[in-house]
């Protein structure tokens, strides 16, 4: 199962730091595979703040959402 094979977040950060440290000596970064590179890329990606702003505006103009059935049941 993938989750068993996967690193924990802490392990990944540690490994990423080691990779970066190892890479920085030769003036770059080194990634073991595509996923590691994509994780690094994702961590560097900033979510544009205007999305939340637009979302807030859209929600304000929308009718209130229906509550999940289990919430309605539990009150």
């Amino acid at each position: 199962m993938k989750q068993q094979n996967k690193f924990s977040a802490a392990q990944h950060q540690e490994q990423a730091a080691q990779s970066q440290a190892a890479g920085s000596g030769s003036g770059g970064l080194e990634f073991q595979n595509a996923e590691e590179l994509l994780r690094h890329d994702a961590a560097q990606t900033v979510v544009p703040p205007q999305i939340a702003q637009r979302l807030g505006q859209s929600v304000a103009q929308s009718p209130p959402p229906r509550r999940p059935w289990w919430r309605r049941l539990l009150g």
């Binding site: 993938k2 996923e35 544009p48 979302l55 929600v59």
Partner: protein, 185 residues
Amino acid sequence: MNQACAPSQLAETAETRLLPAELGALYCAHSRAIYYLALRFLGDPQKAEDATHDVFLKALRHLDQFRGEAAARTWLYRIAINHCKNMRQAWHERHVLLGSESDFCEQAAGGESPLRVLETKELGARIQKALDGLGAEYRLLLLLVSDQELSYEQVGALTGQSADAVRGKLFRARKAFATLFAKTE
């Protein structure tokens, strides 16, 4: 009152504090993952922004359908994948493209060697170029597998295949990506 974001999540901002509590919590926890998937799957920041907005709005409207059986991230990914595929399909229909999408598969000669990056400035553009060279299936697979919160079983469920099939295709997708990435230097 909105729930505060945990340190590992997206930082709570003035914008997220304006969202309803349930949506604000979902947004803080998963917006980076959803935005990144949309960004790299669609290859366009503006479309990714639109897609992320639409995905969370859909999620809010269909909260009653989320029964907690699946992880929230898996549920959001399912909405995002359908939405992004629809966006791509609509775009392709508007822009008549001759020939099929460049599906870079087994002909990739790359191996399992590490991916070395000397210049990080253009890294995002290089990654995008390499992903664009892959077929949509491999691109989606790599993006989902790179999320450490998803198991192979969950990736399989999201892409309609078994975990073993995911493992098999992942091997080929990695090789293809490595070859394409090397060509972007």
